[in-house]
Symmetry: C2
Amino acid sequence: MKKPDIVILGAGYGGIMTALKLQKMLNVNEAAITLVNKYDYHYQTTWLHENAAGTLHHDRTRIPINDVINTDKVQFILDTVVSIKPDKKKVKLENGDLNYDILVIGLGFEAETFGIPGLKENAFTIGDIDSARLIREHLKYNFAMYHHENCKNLGRLNIVVGGGGFTGVEFLGELANRIPELCEEYDINKSMVRLINIERETTVLPGFDSQLAEYAMSSLESRGVEFITGADFKKCEPDRIVYEKDGKEVSIPTYTTIWTAGVRANSIVEESGFDHNQGKIDVCPDLRAPGYDDIFAIGDCALIMDRATNTPYPPTAQIAVQQSDTAARNITALVQGTGELTEFEPHMLGTVASLGNNDAIGDVFNNRKLFGWKAVIMKKIIENRYLFKLGGWGLLMRKGKFNIFY
Amino acid sequence: MKKPDIVILGAGYGGIMTALKLQKMLNVNEAAITLVNKYDYHYQTTWLHENAAGTLHHDRTRIPINDVINTDKVQFILDTVVSIKPDKKKVKLENGDLNYDILVIGLGFEAETFGIPGLKENAFTIGDIDSARLIREHLKYNFAMYHHENCKNLGRLNIVVGGGGFTGVEFLGELANRIPELCEEYDINKSMVRLINIERETTVLPGFDSQLAEYAMSSLESRGVEFITGADFKKCEPDRIVYEKDGKEVSIPTYTTIWTAGVRANSIVEESGFDHNQGKIDVCPDLRAPGYDDIFAIGDCALIMDRATNTPYPPTAQIAVQQSDTAARNITALVQGTGELTEFEPHMLGTVASLGNNDAIGDVFNNRKLFGWKAVIMKKIIENRYLFKLGGWGLLMRKGKFNIFY
């Protein structure tokens, strides 16, 4: 009897952890495990804003896949997924097709620009190593341009961050610390640089504890960030953006807009014909796609409702990693034909948002609020814990964050 | 009796050394010395190609003017010269006017693009700290763009250097060493990058010893530089250049063209109504401008003929520094009313061209040829000697080049 082909699409938080767990739970005679990813490295999406600001090198954020998987047990294919054909049990890649018996969809997110004119063409999004690295270079290029141009252009020095959610606020925190360094490198007077956040709601971090959100705003404001809340982002052109507030349209000259205000699931999910809710698969409790007993969806591609509040859980690394546990356990049960599948139950351990390398806020362990250095340490513990789970002590020592005392 | 106002325009090699010598030779009761420069730092023009390639930080190349002049003896004005009115003994600055009794014109060079279409708009030139720093960032930005664009564009990775003279060859040497680092940083396969030199003559370094020129070409070719000699540069567009060779026009896609093939004197010389020869003042033997007994011209603004060959001496730092000796001595004689002015006599000590940090060629001490590490050491001795003259041991220790063994 042929052993089943397990194919995992995507090596993000959910995908790579599912592969790691399956390689422990199944032996090579039981199943053939294949992991497909468009890069030969895994990266920590939650660190990309630091790479984009230039405060952390991108090589700290990425980890070669072959360094963490056991290539005797998991076959890695470097390729880009084009589409999924669930009726034919086939995945189309750019360079060939793959057949599966069990499929795990962990293809992550893409930016959602809500049809706002010019955003897709002219704004940056922090999506992967390539885009984060480009943002870092774009910032420096524009600062270098400032003194080179005879006609001084303040658009070179204005940086607009669209969206005051989690990513936007964390990115602003890094940028606020980075700007003084950039000013020194490019002979710019710091008072000329504007770091502007535009948020639709009346506060940043909507949904977060209001005391923590206020703390975040004043921490960032003290480092020069301007918050424009209650404002609609109207359009983004190559050299300016326009927002509307209190019925008035305001234009800001800028060559650098970073859009952090929306993510959606990878559009391959929708295009492959799955039932979806705003692009995500509204998975069964065992994480399988409705109607398919051989397809699991995890991470940003899966919709998980919080039954207590009837709202979806936010798409976090925390939940993706927890889902990989359930997915791996259920796949093992299917392969070994042992018993019922278990249901996914998220455990919200809390959330910590960094505000640069020296400040943070956290809402952890049933509404215990953390500010300042305690939150900074908690953030690094969470990040280091993930590295340990992914690659043990060796990886933790190579890529961990231990600079917690400044 | 009012003490004479000595005004020195430009703090390049010639200008700053004239100021330094005058502050030693004249006491404060004899003359008021003013130095005008558009930056508050002096920079070593001959190091800028390293800043542009990214192999040396620009802060190593520049020196705050107030660190080397004695501000009790020399007044420094940070301003940009707009024009010189020799008949009114006046200099117009962007922020005011200056009267002089004795003037030294050391305003340096600007790029000469010979009317080649698009060069002025689309090519970079290595002219000052700002432009060198921008080239460094431009290279990185385009390398970062390569992986970010879905449609791969080799123009991002093609670098065209127009002109195979001294600056072009030295810049290629630095770039050839820099490319492997850039490839690693931006995940680029080194074989995709093209480093192309376009030279009108049949060899690079025309006028230089042919054996040395051949050595330079093979050193650079072994590190991947392509030489296209005997080719006319026809035009430069934002995303490509066109050259003509053997009657055929060839287009190379590129976003990065650096033009090193021509310099001319600062156009203020010509615009201020001086008699000029291709923009330069054809100075008298005592370095004064013909027809003006109170105006000296030095460095790139002065034309010095080699009577033996009836060709002009090349505009080098070496000659500019030597001219500052003659200028300072003659100004002192004018101020003190002592005897005849001396004639400028250049002493060609030879020329050394670097080919990156680990190779060089030199033609020194009456046609003694140097290759490889001997030339590398000679180059650094010359550079360090200048720093010592400019700012003594302190400056030499801070900015000198001592990494001569790799």
